[in-house]
């Protein structure tokens, strides 16, 4: 049996860690409500069902093989020797969590947290593939994410891998840092969401023949806004647990982490409301919700490292960035992303990672943190995006991911589940009528 490499420093930290992890499922609740609310009413039941399947498959696949690839600092791993230094690239663990004591060690707490974090990462693409992504394809795609893409990158950041070693091996301050999962959870999920949106293509009726997008508003804004509040609760737990387990901060930092998380969400949400109020004369509820979540995503990387005033700046920039980015993807790049998943998770996450490099100060005054963060972002773009795209493209060759035209017309609820979420509603079909 492997002895735990790092034990939580004392009973208080252990208790705080457990309580924090217990809050994490609320992030999943929040994202599920947001994805469902921003989709069409005729796909609402399908969206909720898909979220449940995603959480289940992600947890099981992570249990079977995910942790075997991800590992934890101090646990045996495969290394490559390059330039006279050893670079840790993947964990060397048996499948099914064998050889791991589930006894309250830091590694066992990390497994518990990761079984939900990987589900959160896998929920993100549901936002971009809404109203047209088949349930079976969602399940296969989730298995790919939870079984390979996520654990490999998470090993590099949280498992003592080569990105975490950049400080020791390359003299870049503390190496790539991400306490709460801006990169491992959100950018990985957001870039997978971009791959899915590209592979599926836009919903029928979304773009006219000259490429102009038509508005397909979300069917239930109350779900979306309630989801934001659930997400905030869960995010405090996610950021705290991640900071304790992966950056080793002391227990009293939980206050700073919670305050930073709230400030980032509040400043980003209000910025998005203000920007849309100025641009469209009235605040836009769905973009405000996107801004709110974007602030939470951006807060994760440096939640334990920045002062609240600095985190407010991070939140304000995240809120504005998400608002403009959603429009840019829709109008400029013709990416049909009903939930704004790419902007909220990938763009805001990258901003959070870079903000850590720019704003965080360390007692030892080591330089080079910004370069480590830039290399982490380069890895996300150069490894995670092509990998997610290639694996989902291959899946699409063998098992088409997009529902047929009849399924889109009927709605995913009737077509895939045989029953509607709101049977008393009228189905709107005007986008299928000839113009």
């Amino acid at each position: 049996m492997i002895s735990p490499p790092v034990l939580p420093s004392n009973e208080i930290v252990f208790a705080l860690c457990v309580v924090s992890i217990l809050l994490v499922p609320f992030v999943g609740v929040g994202l599920t409500l947001i994805n469902t609310g921003l989709g069409r009413s005729r796909s609402a039941g399908h969206s909720m069902m898909a979220s449940l399947c995603v959480m289940a498959i992600a947890a099981l696949v992570y249990f079977v093989c995910g942790f075997a690839w991800q590992g934890f600092p101090g646990i045996p791993a495969h290394v490559l020797i390059a330039g006279g230094k050893s670079w840790d690239w993947i964990a060397a663990q048996p499948f099914f969590l064998r050889k791991l004591n589930l006894d309250g060690s830091a590694a066992s707490l990390a497994v518990w947290l990761q079984m939900m974090s990987v589900g959160i990462a896998a929920l993100i693409p549901l936002g971009s593939g809404g109203d047209r992504w088949r349930l079976r394809a969602i399940c296969f795609s989730t298995a790919i994410l939870a079984g390979w893409t996520y654990p490999v990158f998470a090993h590099w950041v949280w498992g003592g891998g080569w990105l975490a070693q950049l400080g020791v091996n390359s003299g870049m301050a503390h190496g790539f840092l991400d306490a709460g999962g801006s990169s491992t959870i959100h950018v990985v999920g957001g870039l997978t969401a971009l791959s899915i949106a590209w592979i599926l293509g836009p919903r029928r009726g979304k773009y006219s023949s000259n490429g102009m997008p038509s508005a397909i508003p979300g069917h239930n804004v109350t779900y979306v806004l309630a989801g934001c509040l659930f997400a905030l609760t869960g995010w405090i737990g996610l950021n705290s647990a991640g900071a304790f387990l992966f950056t080793g901060v002391e227990g009293r930092r939980i206050i700073l982490i919670a305050i930073n998380t709230i400030i980032a969400a509040a400043s980003a949400g209000l910025t998005a409301a203000l920007v849309t109020r100025v641009r469209f004369t009235k605040p836009d509820a769905s973009l405000t919700a996107n801004g709110w979540i974007g602030g939470l995503v951006a807060s994760s990387a440096a939640c334990a490292l920045l002062q609240p005033a600095e985190m407010m700046i991070v939140g304000i920039i995240a809120g504005a960035l998400v608002t403009f980015s959603v429009e840019w993807f829709e109008f400029g790049l013709r990416v049909d992303d009903p939930g704004g998943a790419v902007s909220v998770h990938a763009i805001a996450g990258i901003w959070g990672l870079l903000a850590l490099g720019l704003l965080a100060r360390f007692p030892d005054n080591q330089s080079g943190q910004w370069l480590a963060q830039v290399i982490g972002v380069a890895t996300l773009l150069g490894f995670v995006l092509p990998t997610a795209y290639a694996l989902n493209w291959l899946l699409d060759r063998f098992h088409p991911q997009r529902v047929g035209i009849e399924g889109e017309r009927q709605g995913m609820d009737l077509h895939e589940l045989g029953a509607e979420a709101y049977p008393e509603f009228i189905t709107h079909t005007e986008e299928y009528l000839p113009h």
Binding site: A82, L166, G171, G201, P202, V374, I375, A378, F383
Partner: protein, 59 residues
């Protein structure tokens, strides 16, 4: 062209890795890393442009 975009993304990342492995800490290493990121941005632009689909292309 879609494949070319992703190949450029991957190649840019390999440049970053090579810079880390073979160059000592210096401004040339930083320059090499930033050059790799520039290649990635080129790949991202190419990938994004090749995915701008009009409804008639969708079938």
């Amino acid at each position: 062209m879609k494949i070319a975009g992703f190949l450029l993304l991957f190649t840019g990342w390999i440049l970053v890795l090579v810079a880390l492995a073979i160059l000592p800490a210096s401004s040339s290493r930083t320059g090499f890393i930033l050059a790799g990121i520039a290649v990635e941005i080129l790949g991202l632009v190419l990938a994004a442009r090749t995915h701008r689909i009009l409804p008639e292309d969708q079938g």
